[in-house]
């Protein structure tokens, strides 16, 4: 029981980290709020479903198409909406929240929910991990999660565009003087964040059905992980994902499944009361939080 909880908690934590990575890349690292994140996540899942089941494309092609479509959608959101209100916090939050809401509720209105809306797994089968049998899909999620986290760390620390991402968050005007086109970089950052949302969607949705509610849950989980870990810190994000993930798994194993929902808000409140900048937040510690 205990050992299996450890293994499942590990997988759950990686799922949380995976979901939060995209949000953290756009908001934490480049400073562009993207409250449409949940909408993009469900959008990716449902476009993949449409490509597979209605257009009848092969699995790999549909997934790649859906990831591309989601990234493009993210870029379009920035180019046509966010760019006009950039820098006005209120407008950024409300505009992206409105887009996310419209996307999610439009899918709900069109009837895209129910048991038939499932994505196929990447590989069938399951393997034995120490004490529990885990499906290969979950193992794949762990691999993708670790690869993405490492990839993002490398990207934001050792590539020109990645450094520009961090540059525009730290000081947009200084970044401009160094020849960084902040609008272009911000477009890229929203697009990349959407790419990660899409990747996590096609990796995670096969574990259950595609539901509209997942859009809201994902946004909340991503927010919780980012706030607890401290924005802008990929390491903090991973640790926060593990804290929340293990607490959730232990709650569902030893108390009751329905209390899992309470873990993120309670941790957020506790962290905010004790250390408002998050556990590992360094960036903008003074500026963003009073």
């Amino acid at each position: 029981m205990f050992l299996s909880t450890i293994v499942l908690g590990f997988i759950n934590s990686i799922i949380l980290a995976l979901v939060a990575l995209g949000f953290n890349l756009t908001f934490g690292i480049s400073g562009v709020a993207n409250f449409a994140y949940g909408g993009l996540y469900v959008f990716a899942g449902l476009t993949a479903w449409i490509f597979i089941n209605i257009v009848k494309l092969p699995y790999i092609v549909s997934i790649l198409l859906s990831i591309a479509a989601t990234s493009l959608f993210g870029a379009l959101i920035y180019r046509f909406i966010l760019q006009r209100v950039r820098g006005i916090e209120l407008s950024e939050v409300i505009a992206t929240f409105g887009i996310g809401l419209a996307v999610l509720e439009l899918f709900r209105y069109l009837g895209f929910y129910g048991f038939e809306y499932t994505l196929p797994v990447m590989f069938e089968g399951s393997i034995n991990l120490f004490v529990v049998t885990v499906s290969i899909q979950r193992v794949m999620i762990v691999i993708i999660g670790i690869a993405l986290a490492g990839g993002i760390w490398f990207f934001t620390h050792h590539t020109k565009i990645g450094l520009a991402f961090r540059g525009i968050a730290q000081d947009e005007y200084t970044a401009l003087t160094l020849g960084i086109d902040s609008d272009f970089i911000a477009t890229l950052s929203v697009a990349f964040g959407s790419t990660i949302a899409a990747i996590s969607a096609v990796a995670i949705f096969p574990l259950g059905t595609i539901s509209i509610e997942q859009g809201y849950v994902v946004l909340i989980n991503a927010l919780a992980v980012s706030i607890v870990g401290g924005l802008g810190s990929t390491g903090g994000l991973i640790i926060a994902a593990f804290i929340i993930g293990y607490l959730q798994t232990f709650t569902s194993a030893y108390i009751d499944t329905q209390w899992v929902m309470f873990v993120p808000p309670l941790i957020i409140l506790a962290v905010l009361a004790l250390k408002p900048s998050g556990l590992f937040g360094k960036q903008k510690e003074l500026e963003e939080r009073v």
Binding site: A33, E89, G98, L101, Y109, Q258, L272, E288
Partner: protein
């Protein structure tokens, strides 16, 4: 020849800004009509509308109150994405007091305002140290948290909710109480923000660090605003509980969070009159769109985006500008 639009205050506006307002009826009418006209229109609507549209007017008032509460928070630099927290907490305070202790609605509504306001303030206090987006993130989560709490802990009726609550003693109160409260809050908030205390709040919105460096403890100010806004929001919830005679998990629904924001954005953020105007536009519109069911929320979302991008000032500041200024094209030299 390049031209630009020049805006100049109307003469009557300049005259009526000071003591000369008393010089003629025209100036006094100019000053008083924007204040008196809404009251007259609201009373007129309340009296002459059909019973169905009177119910719509009731929800206009409720959403107007929630929008005012949202705008109050916004003017102090706190963007809330969870107005349904206040609405729900107020509803549950009133509902439980009435259901378990049999309190009269005249007792439960003020109690829900004060106790609910204090409750929300205490919950949100850890968050006032956060700015802008960070505050919004957490307020987005809280209503969902309480909804799940009631579901999981099976308290206060759980998923079933509490039914059979007492209604207001006179049926005419169901319409006039929220309208009266809306007007009181509208004019009260406007006057409040014009006071010195309101000036500090505006300062917090514009630059909290410089307010802090003036030796003002902004947390106390923010806590007070939180209390005021949440008490007003709780009134809306407590009142609706005694109209629907029911309190349950739907009081934390997304509608109560998103519609106040949408009305404020459409009407004009930061004016108080704008959010009320927005509620008067959006709530009847959503009533007309009722046949589309869930598509309503999609429309709200689109409205938010379109107004934020294309008309960020909102409708009210536009009307205000036309009322106070005239425009003309001048040549750029």
């Amino acid at each position: 020849m390049a031209k630009r639009k020049e805006r100049i205050d109307r003469g009557i506006k300049v005259r009526s800004d000071d003591i000369f307002a008393l010089s003629s009826w025209r100036e006094m009418l100019y000053l008083s009509s924007p204040r008196v006209l809404p009251i007259v229109i609201i009373l007129f609507l309340a009296i002459f509308l059909s019973p169905y549209w009177q119910r719509v007017l009731l929800s206009v008032a409720v959403f107007g109150i929630l929008s005012l509460s949202w705008d109050m928070l916004n003017q102090t630099g706190m963007i809330s994405l969870g107005q349904s927290l206040f609405f729900g907490i107020g509803a549950y305070f009133a509902g439980t007091m009435n259901h378990y202790f049999g309190w009269h609605p005249f007792l439960t509504i003020p109690f829900a305002m004060i106790a609910g306001g204090l409750f929300c303030t205490v919950i949100l206090m850890p968050l006032v140290r956060l700015r802008g987006i960070y505050f919004s993130m957490t307020t987005l989560i809280l209503p969902i948290f309480f909804e799940r709490l009631i579901e999981a802990a099976r308290i206060f009726g759980g998923t079933e909710g509490l039914t059979g609550l007492q209604s207001l003693p006179y049926s005419w109160l169901e319409l006039y109480l929220p309208l009266l409260f809306l007007l009181i809050v509208l004019f009260g908030f406007r006057r409040f923000m014009a006071s010195d205390y309101g000036l500090v709040l505006k300062g917090i919105h514009d630059n909290d660090q410089s307010v802090k460096s003036s030796g003002i403890n902004i947390n106390i100010y923010k806590a007070f605003v939180l209390f005021m806004a949440s008490a007003v929001g709780c009134f809306a919830g407590a009142f609706i509980t005694h109209v629907y005679l029911f309190v349950g998990m739907p009081v934390f629904a997304l509608d109560y969070s998103i519609l106040p924001i949408a009305s404020s954005v459409v009407g004009g953020v930061g004016t108080f009159a704008g959010p009320v105007l927005g509620a008067f536009i959006l709530v009847p519109l959503s009533e007309i769109l009722r046949q589309f069911g869930g598509l309503r929320i999609v429309f709200y979302g689109m409205f938010l985006v379109i107004f934020i991008v294309a008309l960020p000032d909102g409708i009210f500041p536009y009307i205000q500008r036309k009322y106070q200024q005239f425009e003309r094209w001048v040549e750029v030299k």
